[in-house]
Symmetry: C2
Subunit: 352 residues, 2 copies
């Protein structure tokens, strides 16, 4: 066991501040990683502020961060996939119990899954797992991803959560050349959805409430941008989309997007509005349409996504910040004042 | 053109009464059918009483009926699949325009589809199409189905709507041996869902609010019956169903059934509650679950369903009535006082 520098929240009302946390000594199956960059996900803020009290109450201190890029510094004796010096990533999960790592090919749905932060720490190093706002981390080999060396590490960090969260449903919907894909919302998730769907060869339409996002959407790879507040523009697209990826967490009317789906079309939610969404049965029945939810992706699929991004030299658009700017970054994230993800340069922590 | 006896509604408040309607002379592509039985679907009542005013206003006189079984009496010169004497069926559709008969393999989604009643009659025989509450009908060969001779014709009639409506989503969900299937509601649709899912080899659980339906459900082929009003019974089944077919048109909470779906599970609506159904996004996201709608099925799939029913000697449970009993039957249907479908013996009309 050793101590590592980290940024943690001491309570739900405390700003994040520098801390020292225990990391376990590398076991046979472990990979020790020197963290270079960590993306900032909205979940980090929710967890730090205990906003998911009812389902996942926060244990303090809380060290967020599950979009981790780093270099391997040491590996356990049973580790076969990695060696010191490799560029690697860690996403939302760090453990899933021995028998359950392949639960439906999706470790998140194992009853024993350990998330990267705020999950009971099976190794007993600390009461809960501590995330990537830290100079280093020790993770079971199964949950470590290989990062293509051609990818910018700062921009690659958000692939570990925002990337796989949008890639997985696009793949499940068999998006490819000839597909007509809609992306609702152009934030951290949405901008990855646009880039990935475009790279898969689809015709991509972005739905947004802000006309100001038009140029950005086109630059990210969208073929068309539609103001969702314009009933004529929306109406003219009825029945034309094979797949719509809904990246919006704010309340909104799904039925007007279901109307845009073609026969057999699917809308998948990756943003999770708090209140139940009223869905008209007739809208689904007439056209054999469906509404799905999708949660990140399994480890195998995450590696596939990273390899795909390597081939297409595709990363998130990030604003690099120092760890000392994290509290400001949270406030800006709340105002959607970021294009499109913050990525923390962890050198800023090591230099302290 | 010739006149045929039929039962029609003269206005939204009129009971059905005997009438005489025009049927077209058999064209090259047509099959003329002597109707033996016609099932009674809840849609018949909705349409006769103009309860779908806003989407499909009723044109009077209205002759309902889209679960038709009969014998071919004449065929046009270009008809290749049928000859006089064949046992045939007609379901919810009778035309779809020449280029659109294979719209996604599902003629209902052709913009030119003509339903069996109350759709503009492209042949100009009458303002709208007239359905199966009649002694005969003339239908384009493409929309005529072959009925296996081993099936009881009275019980086979409901296969043309209730049968295909439940068969199609079960097939889409790839239900088979090893599948855990739930059926919500044990009415006309639900009882077909139980029989079909059982014949496909699935483990079938019926969800009902009426304890009195337990024995019937087991007799129809269910392996288990769960009272949906029992929170303990419902809770113990969380995460265990591959597929749930929701046959209920009354308002009900979908979220408690979504909780019962396994990872990647799907719930398909074939009943259509009037008001939008509130669906919690988290319930879909955590488990990559989905909610779909499904509308009858294409003609090719309907034939596949009929062949499947022929192989398994599977028909609906029906109460045979005379056409003179139709108004009483509607009142009983409103009280769910039928096991599980009325089937009109059309000899009762011919004898008048």
């Amino acid at each position: 066991m050793y101590q590592a520098k980290a940024y943690s929240a001491a309570s739900e009302t405390s700003p994040l501040a520098q801390d020292s946390i225990p990391r376990r000594a590398t076991t046979d199956r472990d990979v020790q990683i020197d963290i270079l960059f960590c993306g900032v996900c909205h979940s980090d803020l929710h967890q730090a502020r205990n906003e998911w009290k009812s389902v996942m109450p926060t244990v303090y201190p809380c060290v967020p961060g599950h979009e981790i890029i780093g270099r391997v510094t040491a590996v356990g004796s049973a580790v076969t996939k990695y060696k010191a010096g490799d560029l690697v990533g860690v996403g939302c999960m760090v453990d899933a119990g021995h028998d359950c790592q392949h639960h439906h090919g999706h470790e998140l749905f194992s009853p024993d899954v350990a998330l990267t932060y705020n999950s009971p720490d099976r190794h007993g190093t600390a009461p809960v797992t501590y995330g990537g706002y830290s100079e280093s981390i020790v993770v079971d080999e199964h949950f470590v991803l290989k990062i293509p060396e051609n990818l910018d590490p700062a921009g690659a960090a958000p692939l570990l959560c925002a990337g796989i969260t949008t890639y997985s449903p696009l793949r499940r919907a068999k998006v490819g050349p000839g597909s007509k894909v809609g992306i609702i919302g152009l934030g951290g998730l949405g901008h990855m959805g646009v880039k990935l769907a475009h790279a898969m060869g689809a015709h991509v339409t972005v739905f947004t409430r802000s006309k100001s996002k038009t140029d950005d959407a086109l630059q990210l790879g969208a073929d068309a941008v539609v103001l969702s507040t314009d009933p004529d523009a929306m109406g003219s697209l009825a029945g034309t989309f094979d797949f719509i990826l809904d990246c919006v967490s704010a309340e909104h009317d799904l039925n007007e997007y279901i109307a845009l789906l073609a026969v057999n079309g699917n809308l998948t939610l990756v943003g999770a509005p708090e209140k139940p969404l009223p869905i008209a049965a007739f809208g689904l029945i007439f056209g054999n349409k469906s509404v799905s939810g999708s949660a990140i992706g399994g480890i195998k699929e995450t590696q596939e996504m990273l390899d795909f991004c390597g081939e297409h030299n595709l990363t998130a658009d990030v604003e690099v910040i120092s760890i000392q700017q994290i509290n400001d970054a949270y406030e800006r994230m709340l105002k959607s004042d970021v294009k499109y993800r913050f990525s923390i340069d962890m050198a800023s922590l090591k230099q302290t």
